[in-house]
Amino acid sequence: MNNEEQIIEGCKNRSRKAQKMLFDKYSPMLFPICMRYTKSKQEAEDLLQESFIKIFANIEQYDEIGTFEGWLKRIVINSAISIHKQNFKYYFHENVDELNIEDEFEPETPDFDYSLSDLMKIINELPDGYRIIFNMAVIEDYKHKEIAEILDIDIGTSKSQLSRAKKMLQKRLTEMNEKRILLAVNQN
């Protein structure tokens, strides 16, 4: 029971062994997604747990159209979204006048190399609404129309949130750079 099909079949028959194998095989891929959509490692673990419970409960519905990995990712992302869904009206509430200004923003190119943990930390520090839309639009390549439909918001809101998220990320990266320079100067 090593290939994907056998594992899936085992999971459909509620085999504990198959379920463990599926977790071992795909959790390293899904855990970073969870981390990107949450603020802390603890929240990410909770999200991963909830996602796998949904995966095992609904695995009969996997119709083998599209990749299994894609199906798993969709469940994790949907689980992440569903956690925040009840607060969306607060996340995405904004002043319409600000939208035009923000949409014009084009982020500058960062100047330094960044580790994965640095970038993860910066994403985790984003407000929930910014983080969700940035992840969906940039990392998962969702179109603004799709994001708007999934989150039940305006396309304009999705764009403006993404723009603000980028601006905030750039600000964080700049701050990080300044700290590094300062640290290097002090060390010399």
Binding site: R14, R16, Q19, K20, F23, S27, P28, M29, F31, P32, M35, R36, E45, L48, Q49, F52, I53, F56, A57, P107, E108, T109, P110, D111, F112, D113, Y114, L116, L119, I123, F134, V138, I139, K166, L169, Q170, L173
Partner: protein, 449 residues
């Protein structure tokens, strides 16, 4: 990462592409705990997944039966219910009763036996108008005679015969005479009469078709009737009654009513041997200051703040009448009962044994004695009684009666029964919870008229 060729999007996109981070082992352990229950549910559902429809149908059938019963037991003008059933049964019995006398007796059936005349010459009986059936019975040296006037359209001769037979008890029939205007003293023997009318073979069944009145004297025990004390595991009430009933039986159908008197009592209280007497004032003692040691007597509400607990002991210098005290204590969990049943049923007989199935409504009144004992300075006591109506109670009952005939008039009867109480008699007693299902046994003697 190339810092000059990437904008922020590319920076993050490339950074997170194909990243793998292995979660802590505790995550799987948490998932595993949930999976146990989830998988178990899956297996159970899987077991029954081929019969989801039949399972639902079974549940629905149960629900439907209960709904039907609820509808049947409650009165609704537009729906068939138990009240309509009772009325229909009553009408049916009336119809059957009235139809008994409408049977015409065929003259051709009586003619052949006129050839068997024993003492008198052969005669013919053209009509039954003004014809008498005479049954003569010999009792020691005397002969008793009963006469029944036959009218062609009213009474068949077999029925007339039985009525006449019943008029003379405790003797053997020796002669049967048929008289009319044309010929008097047509007498045949009993054996001839039986033979011609095949009465020997059908005697019992013919008798069952007749109408009769019965009177019962009985005692009955109903247990566990009524209640549990909510503070205890079991606090059963027992109802003991004596009663009289009168029943009218026609063509095996029975309608019965009567009256019964009795008491419904919490018999567990008698096991409480220890009494605590409070607020003892040797010169002036009131039973109101007594309660049971288990605090469940209704008297417990009469406590005073200045309690002087004192275990009652018959050897104590206070000479209290323990019997009276127990009676009073018991009276606090005692209801006196009067009930009136209205039952309908059907009876079958074979030889001396009869069995009957009966069902109907019992209306009961519950009275609560408020008696107490007062002891005066000279140690004399006085018991005062007051019976207050507490509650009217209605029950459905279903009984299976067995009757053993001792002779023509008297029978022994036993009747186990089930009783479904429709309302609680403990409306004012929050400490009791009504039991709506109870079982009992009725024992008695029946006199058949």
């Amino acid at each position: 990462m190339n810092r000059n060729s990437q904008n922020i999007e590319n920076l993050f996109k490339q950074a997170f592409q194909n990243v793998e981070i292995r979660p802590e082992k505790r995550v799987w352990r948490s998932i595993d705990k949930h999976l146990w229950l989830s998988n178990f549910k899956f297996y159970i559902e899987h077991l029954f997944k081929h019969e989801p429809i039949s399972s639902n149908e079974r549940v629905w059938r149960k629900i439907n039966r209960k709904l039907w019963l609820q509808d049947y037991l409650s009165f609704n003008l537009s729906k068939f219910n138990i009240y309509y059933s009772s009325a229909a049964m009553l009408v049916l019995m009336m119809v059957l009763f009235s139809s008994v006398d409408n049977k015409n007796f065929s003259i051709s059936e009586i003619l052949p036996f006129t050839n068997e005349i024993e003492k008198i010459q052969k005669i013919e009986i053209p009509r039954f108008e003004n014809t008498k059936l005479i049954v003569a019975k010999q009792k020691k040296s005397k002969v008793q005679i009963a006469e029944i006037k036959l009218v062609e359209t009213i009474k068949p001769i077999t029925k007339a015969f039985l009525i006449a037979e019943n008029k003379i008890q405790k003797t053997e029939i020796v002669k049967i005479s048929i008289q009319n205007n044309q010929s008097k003293n047509t007498i045949i023997t009993k054996s001839v009469f039986y033979e011609k009318f095949e009465l020997k073979k059908q005697q019992n069944s013919i008798k069952q078709k007749t109408q009769k009145w019965t009177f019962d004297v009985y005692t009955k025990l109903l247990e566990p009737y009524s209640a549990n004390d909510i503070t205890k595991q079991s606090e059963n009430f027992r109802t003991e009654m004596i009663g009289l009933s009168i029943a009218y039986n026609v063509n095996n159908f029975i309608i019965e009513t009567g009256v019964a008197f009795g008491k419904t009592q919490n018999y567990n209280i008698q096991n409480d041997s220890m009494l605590i007497v409070q607020n003892i004032q040797p010169q002036y003692f009131r039973i109101d200051s007594i309660k049971n040691s288990n605090n469940d007597s209704l008297l417990s509400t009469n406590f005073s703040n200045n309690n002087l607990n004192w275990k009652y002991d018959s050897s104590d210098s206070l000479k209290l009448d323990t019997t009276s005290i127990y009676e009073v204590l018991n009276s606090k969990d005692l209801y006196k009962t009067v009930e009136i049943p209205i039952l309908f049923g059907y009876q079958l007989s074979q030889g001396n044994l009869s069995c009957a199935v009966k069902g109907g409504l019992i209306s009961a009144l519950y009275f609560k004695p408020t008696d107490y004992v007062k002891t005066y300075k000279d140690n004399s006591t006085e018991i005062l009684n007051r019976n207050a109506l507490v509650k009217a109670d209605f029950s459905f009952t279903l009984a299976f009666g067995l009757e053993y005939k001792l002779n023509e008039s008297f029978s022994l009867l036993t009747e186990p029964f089930y009783r479904k109480t429709l309302n609680s008699i403990f409306a004012n007693e929050s400490k009791y919870v009504q039991h709506y299902n109870s079982y009992g046994l009725k024992l008695g003697v029946r006199y058949t008229l």
